[in-house]
C-alpha cells in the first residue's frame, strides 16, 4: 500500500518544552491508524502540526510527497486533510445545515459579483451544495436535524455533525481526535462501525487519537505510541499490547516489571 502521509523527524517546541520530538510516522493509504499515548504525549500537537495550526520547527510532513510545512490550515484542507477536535468545535450559533455548508466552502466557486447578481451558476452551485449537505446529514444519521442550531444538538449528534462537516471538505485523510470521548459502550460501538464504514465504503484514510483501548485495539491496523513527544513503539495492536515500553509508559516502571513478571 502507498503512503499517504509521512512525517519525517518532525519536532515542535513550546519554549523549552519539546511537545513533539523527532517524530517519524508513515500512514498507509486506506488504513486506520491510531496514535495513543498518555496525556501530554504530544498527540494533539502532532495533529495541529499536520493541519497547519502549528508550524513544526524541524522535520518534514508530506502528503503524497507534497510538503505541508508552512502551509496555512485553509490550504491544507484543500489538499485533502480534514479533522475533528478533541473538545467539539462546531459553529455553535449556526444551524447543523450551515455547519456542513461551511465545510463545503472550499469546493464552491461563487465570487462576490456572482453572489450579488445571483448568477445562474451561483444558484446552481448553491442548490447542489444544499443537496450535498443534506446527503451528508443523512449519511451521519442527522436527517431532519438540519435546521437546529449546532449548540442545541445532544452530545453524540454534535460529534457526528462535526464528522459530517469534516467530510464535506471531501478529504483523503481524516484526522479524528478522540471521536468516542464521553460515549457509552453502545455509542462507542456505533462510532467504531461508522469509522470502519468510512474507510471501507468511502475509501478515506483514518488517523485517530484514542484513549479507549477497546476502540484502538478493535479497529486500527497500525498503532503508534507516543510518550513525551517521542515515538516509543509502532506496530499492529497485538504487538503493541505485548510491548513492555508501552506498558511502562502507561502504568509506570514498577507495574511494567510486575506485568512482565505475570506474563512470564
Amino acid at each position: 500500500m502507498a503512503t499517504i502521509l509521512e512525517a519525517k523527524k518532525t519536532t515542535k517546541r513550546f519554549g523549552g518544552l519539546v511537545a513533539v520530538d523527532e517524530l517519524s510516522v508513515e500512514i498507509k493509504e486506506k488504513s486506520i491508524h491510531s496514535i495513543i499515548g498518555p496525556n501530554g504525549a504530544g498527540k494533539t500537537t502532532f495533529f495541529n502540526c499536520v493541519t497547519g495550526f502549528y508550524r513544526p520547527e524541524e522535520g518534514q510532513i508530506l502528503l503524497n510527497s507534497h510538503s505541508l510545512v508552512g502551509l496555512l490550515p485553509d490550504q491544507i484542507v484543500r489538499l485533502g486533510i480534514a479533522r475533528t477536535y478533541q473538545n467539539i468545535r462546531l459553529f455553535p450559533s449556526l444551524t447543523a445545515m450551515e455547519n456542513v455548508l461551511v465545510g463545503l466552502h472550499c469546493h464552491l466557486k461563487a465570487n462576490y459579483f456572482g453572489i450579488v447578481a445571483n448568477l445562474p451558476s451561483t444558484r446552481k452551485e448553491e442548490k447542489e451544495a444544499t443537496d450535498e449537505a443534506k446527503r451528508l446529514l443523512r449519511f451521519v444519521n442527522l436527517t431532519g436535524k438540519g435546521d437546529l442550531l449546532a449548540k442545541n444538538l445532544p452530545y453524540g449528534e454534535q460529534r457526528r455533525l462535526e464528522i459530517a462537516r469534516a467530510l464535506a471538505t471531501k478529504p483523503k485523510l481524516l484526522l479524528l481526535d478522540e471521536p468516542t470521548a464521553g460515549m457509552n459502550p453502545s455509542e462507542t460501538q456505533t462510532m467504531m462501525d461508522f469509522i470502519r464504514h468510512l474507510r471501507d465504503e468511502v475509501g478515506i484514510t483514518i488517523l485517530l487519537i484514542e484513549h479507549q483501548m477497546r476502540v484502538v485495539m478493535g479497529i486500527s491496523e497500525t498503532v503508534t505510541v507516543l510518550d513525551y513527544g517521542k515515538k516509543i513503539a509502532e506496530g499492529t495492536p497485538e504487538e503493541i499490547k505485548q510491548n513492555p515500553r508501552v506498558i511502562e509508559a502507561y502504568l509506570g516502571k514498577g507495574s511494567a516489571a510486575e506485568t512482565m513478571g505475570v506474563a512470564a
Binding site: 490550515p73 484542507v77 459553529f91 449556526l94 462576490y112 431532519g144 437546529l148 471538505t169
Partner: protein, 563 residues
C-alpha cells in the same frame, strides 16, 4: 414570622430599587424636563407617566418574583413595592426640605418637589402613598390577569403613551388632510390627547389586540394553508403595499418628520454596513465612522467649488467616494488582520480618531478645509430634478437603503455570508474548513466601508457641507448601539434599531439631553431582557421547508416533523 418576611422580601427589595430609579429620574432632571408635555390633557402629564411607568414596571417585577405566586401574596408584594417607592420619594422631599440639595444636584429645584408632591408640597405629598400603591396594585393585578388581557392593557396603554408623546407630530400630519381635520381635533388637544381621544384609542387598540389573541392563530394557519403560489402572491402584495407607503411617506409626514426619516435612513445605511463587519464577520470595529468621513469628504473635495479642484457633480463623485471608501476599508483592514476581540476594537478606535484628526488638522487645511470644513457641496440631481429638501433627499436615501438591503440579503445567504458567520463563531476552525481568512476579512471590511462611504456621500450632499465635528467617535458608538439593540446580524433589526435609537430621540426633544443615559439604559435593559435584540435574525428553515414540499409533491401520508 419568617414566612411573612419572605413574603414581603421581594416587594421591599424591588420597591427600594424602584424608589432609587424614581429618585434618580427626578434628580437627573428628567421629571422636570418632561413636565411640559401632556399625555392626556388635564389628566396625565408626561412626568407623571414616567414615574408611574417606573412604579408599574418595578411592581410587576415584584409580582413576578413572588414565591408561590398565590394571588394574595402577589398583590401584597406589589403593594409593598409601591409603598416603598412612595416612601423613597417622600424621603427625597423631606431631605430636600431639610438640606439644600441643589448644591450637589442641580436639578433638585422647588419645581421638582412640587411636581413630585402633586403640586402643593407637603400638603398633597401624602397622596404619594395613595397614587403609587394604586399603580403598584394595577401592576399586581395585571400580572394575575390571563395573558391576552394583560397584553391588551400593556399594548393599548403603551400606544396611548406613544400617541400622547408624539402629539405634535401626529396632529399636524392628520390635519394636513382636509377630511381628517375634525378627527384630529377630536383626538388631540393643543398639547396632548383629549380624554375622549385616549378612551377611543384604548378601546380600538384593545379590540385589535384581543382579536389577534383569539383569532391570530386562525389567520396564521389560514396563511399557511394557502398554496405556495398564493403565499407568494400575498407576500408580494405586502411588499408592494409597503413600497407604496414608503414612496408617499414624506408627502404625508411633512418637512420635519421627513428630516427625521432621512437621518434614520443614513443610520440604516451605516448600520447595515457595520452589521456585515460586526454582525456577520464578528470583527468589532469601533472606528467605523472613518469610512463615513471618507465618503463625505471625498464627495466634498470632488464636488465643492469652494475648493475648486474638480467641480464634479454628485453622481460623478459618488463612485469615487465609494471606491476610495473600499480602498481605505481594505488598507485599514490589513494591519488588523491578526487582531481579535478587544485588540481589534482598540486599534480600529484609533483609526477612527486618526481620520478625524487628519481632517481637522491645519496641515491638510488647503485640501480638507480644516475645522471650518468644506461648504457649497452641490445637491444631487437627476434630469433637472434636484434632491434639495428633506422630502426629496428621502428618496435618494430610500434608494440607497434598498440597494444596500438587497446586497446584504444576497451576501447573507451565500457562501461568503456563511464564511463570515463561521469566522465570527470560531476563526481557527473556519480556517481549517478552507476559509481564507485574509480575503474573507478584507471583503467584510471593504463591504462595510462601501456602505458607510455611500452614507457619507449622501450626508455631504444633504447638508451641502461637511465638518470634522460631525465625524466623531460617538457616531461609531451610536451605530454599534443600533445593531446591538436591533439584533446582531439581522437586517430588519438594523432598521428597527435605527428607528428606536435615532428616530425616537429626534422626535422627543426632551430626551435629547438624556440621550446617552437612555442609550445606556436601553443597552442594559436589552442585555437583561432580550439579549438577542428587538428583531433577531430568524434561523433559516431550509431543510424542513423543502422536505415539506417534497412530501407534499409525493402526497406522502406521514406528516413532517415540525419544531
Amino acid at each position: 414570622m419568617t414566612r411573612t418576611l419572605t413574603l414581603w422580601k421581594h416587594g421591599a427589595t424591588t420597591g427600594l430599587l424602584g424608589g432609587l430609579i424614581t429618585v434618580l429620574l427626578s434628580l437627573t432632571g428628567m421629571v422636570e424636563a418632561f413636565s411640559q408635555r401632556q399625555i392626556v390633557t388635564g389628566i396625565l402629564s408626561m412626568d407623571q407617566s414616567l414615574l408611574a411607568a417606573a412604579v408599574v414596571f418595578m411592581a410587576y417585577l415584584a409580582a413576578k418574583r413572588t414565591t408561590g405566586s398565590r394571588p394574595l401574596w402577589v398583590v401584597i408584594n406589589s403593594l409593598t413595592c409601591g409603598f416603598v417607592t412612595a416612601a423613597m420619594l417622600m424621603l427625597l422631599l423631606l431631605v430636600g426640605d431639610w438640606i439644600h440639595l441643589r448644591a450637589v444636584f442641580v436639578n433638585a429645584s422647588p419645581v421638582l418637589y412640587e411636581l413630585i408632591s402633586f403640586g402643593h408640597g407637603f400638603e398633597t405629598a401624602p397622596l404619594l402613598f395613595v397614587a403609587y400603591p394604586l399603580c403598584a396594585l394595577f401592576a399586581g393585578i395585571l400580572y394575575l390577569l390571563p395573558g391576552p388581557v394583560r397584553k391588551m392593557f400593556i399594548v393599548s396603554l403603551a400606544c396611548i403613551l406613544g400617541a400622547g408623546v408624539l402629539q405634535d407630530m401626529l396632529r399636524p400630519t392628520l390635519t394636513a388632510w382636509e377630511s381628517l381635520t375634525d378627527l384630529a381635533e377630536w383626538i388631540f388637544s393643543a398639547n396632548g390627547l383629549t380624554g375622549q381621544g385616549a378612551l377611543a384609542l384604548f378601546i380600538l387598540i384593545s379590540a385589535a389586540v384581543l382579536f389577534w389573541s383569539f383569532r391570530g392563530k386562525a389567520v396564521k394557519t389560514g396563511y399557511r394553508n394557502l398554496s405556495p403560489a398564493g403565499q407568494r402572491g400575498l407576500k408580494w402584495t405586502g411588499i408592494a403595499v409597503l413600497l407604496a407607503v414608503l414612496l408617499i411617506l414624506p408627502q404625508i409626514l411633512g418637512l420635519f418628520l421627513s428630516e427625521v426619516l432621512t437621518i434614520v435612513g443614513l443610520y440604516v445605511l451605516l448600520g447595515l454596513g457595520l452589521n456585515i463587519v460586526v454582525g456577520y464577520a464578528g470583527l468589532l470595529d469601533l472606528g467605523y465612522v472613518a469610512f463615513f468621513a471618507i465618503g463625505a469628504y471625498v464627495t466634498a473635495i470632488l464636488t465643492s467649488p469652494e475648493l475648486g479642484f474638480f467641480n464634479l457633480s454628485f453622481w460623478q463623485a459618488l463612485p469615487f467616494a465609494i471606491l476610495i471608501g473600499i480602498l481605505f476599508g481594505v488598507l485599514l483592514g490589513i494591519p488588523v488582520l491578526k487582531m481579535r476581540g478587544d485588540y481589534l476594537a482598540i486599534a480600529t478606535l484609533g483609526f477612527g480618531e486618526i481620520i478625524r484628526i487628519l481632517v481637522l488638522s491645519d496641515f491638510l487645511r488647503p485640501w480638507l478645509g480644516g475645522a471650518q470644513g468644506i461648504g457649497k457641496i452641490p445637491k444631487a440631481s437627476i434630469a433637472g430634478f434636484e434632491f434639495g429638501t428633506p422630502q426629496e433627499i428621502y428618496y435618494l436615501i430610500l434608494a440607497g437603503c434598498f440597494l444596500v438591503i438587497f446586497i446584504s440579503l444576497r451576501l447573507r445567504d451565500s457562501r461568503l455570508g456563511r464564511a463570515w458567520k463561521a469566522m465570527r463563531e470560531d476563526e481557527d476552525v473556519a480556517q481549517a474548513m478552507g476559509i481564507n481568512l485574509v480575503a474573507t476579512k478584507l471583503l467584510a471590511f471593504g463591504t462595510g466601508a462601501a456602505f458607510s462611504a455611500l452614507s457619507g456621500a449622501i450626508f455631504a450632499t444633504k447638508l451641502t457641507s461637511v465638518y470634522p465635528h460631525s465625524m466623531n467617535v460617538m457616531i461609531s458608538i451610536n451605530i454599534l448601539c443600533v445593531i446591538i439593540v436591533g439584533g446582531m446580524g439581522s437586517i430588519p433589526g438594523v432598521i428597527v434599531g435605527a428607528a428606536a435609537l435615532v428616530g425616537l430621540p429626534e422626535l422627543l426633544r426632551e430626551f435629547a439631553e438624556y440621550r446617552l443615559l437612555v442609550y445606556g439604559l436601553a443597552l442594559v435593559v436589552m442585555m437583561l431582557v432580550r439579549p438577542e435584540g428587538l428583531w433577531p435574525e430568524a434561523v433559516r428553515r431550509r431543510e424542513f421547508h423543502e422536505e415539506e414540499l417534497e412530501e407534499n409533491n409525493n402526497a406522502a401520508a406521514s406528516a413532517p416533523a415540525s419544531s
